[in-house]
């Protein structure tokens, strides 16, 4: 069992260690669902050299970040039957292929942890105060928020209002 549910840190994390701690001693657990978000090099998607990601800097709103994700986990507990959720999000300067975020959920059966994990990521993408800035050979630019992330949260019946004016 882990005592804290939300960790914001600059250091990398070891997925196996986190999962081992999360379910240690909890014999009710029959399912562990994990999502890992990583830094990608957008040049490999677009083919444009201007899109090459050299590094990515993550800024956040200390205090609000932790409180908002804690509130998301509380909401997830109201909707899904799972035991524990653990969220790690890195801040600071990261490189392509680095791990950014981990959401892990334990439950008795797979369905509830799959759903809770996706719900938490959809929520986090539009409601947790993080901002990404990419550095490419042509300079730095703030990453634009995506309408598709607002739509992902809407599937759960929640209005995101992240991108709309």
């Amino acid at each position: 069992m882990v005592s804290h549910r939300v960790v914001i840190q600059s250091e990398d994390f070891n997925v196996a260690d986190v999962l081992a701690k999360l379910r240690a001693g909890d014999l009710r657990v029959g399912a562990v669902c994990t999502f890992i978000g990583t830094v990608r090099d957008t040049q490999l998607l677009s083919g444009k050299d201007a899109d090459r990601v050299v590094s990515m800097a993550l800024e956040h709103y200390p205090g609000m970040t932790e409180a908002s994700i804690e509130a998301m986990i509380d909401q997830a507990h109201e909707r899904f039957d799972f035991y524990q959720a653990h969220v790690i999000h890195r801040v600071g300067v990261l490189k392509p292929a680095d791990q950014i975020v981990m959401v892990a959920v334990t439950s008795a059966h797979r369905g509830e942890s799959f759903k809770a994990c996706e719900f938490l990521m959809d929520y986090l993408k539009t409601q947790a105060p993080f901002w990404k800035k990419e550095a490419s050979p042509s300079g730095e630019k703030w990453v634009d928020a995506r309408v598709s992330d607002d739509l992902a949260l809407a599937r759960w019946g929640i209005e995101a209002n992240n991108v709309v004016k």
């Binding site: 978000g37 993550l58 800024e59 956040h60 709103y61 205090g63 609000m64 409180a67 908002s68 999000h89 950014i100 975020v101 990521m121 986090l124 993408k125 539009t126 409601q127 947790a128 105060p129 993080f130 901002w131 990404k132 800035k133 703030w142 990453v143 634009d144 928020a145 209002n161 992240n162 991108v163 709309v164 004016k165």
Partner: protein, 82 residues
Amino acid sequence: MKFKIRYFASLRETIGLSQEEVESTASTVGQVRDELLARGGVYLCLQRDRSVRMALNQVMVNEDAMLMDQSELAFFPPVTGG
């Protein structure tokens, strides 16, 4: 009333401040936004045709949210974590 206003990400860079103390008669978040817009210049990044999100005491709010003395108000662009 006195408030603390915090700016993040692109808004922090444009305004050139991460936070400031403001004394004002505004009673809502929207009225504070109006007062900042009235300053013009770099504060025009808070215009209502831009996507600007607001938090009061570290909770997302809309412009109708009521302020209290010593409130912490924050303005920032759409979030992009995860």
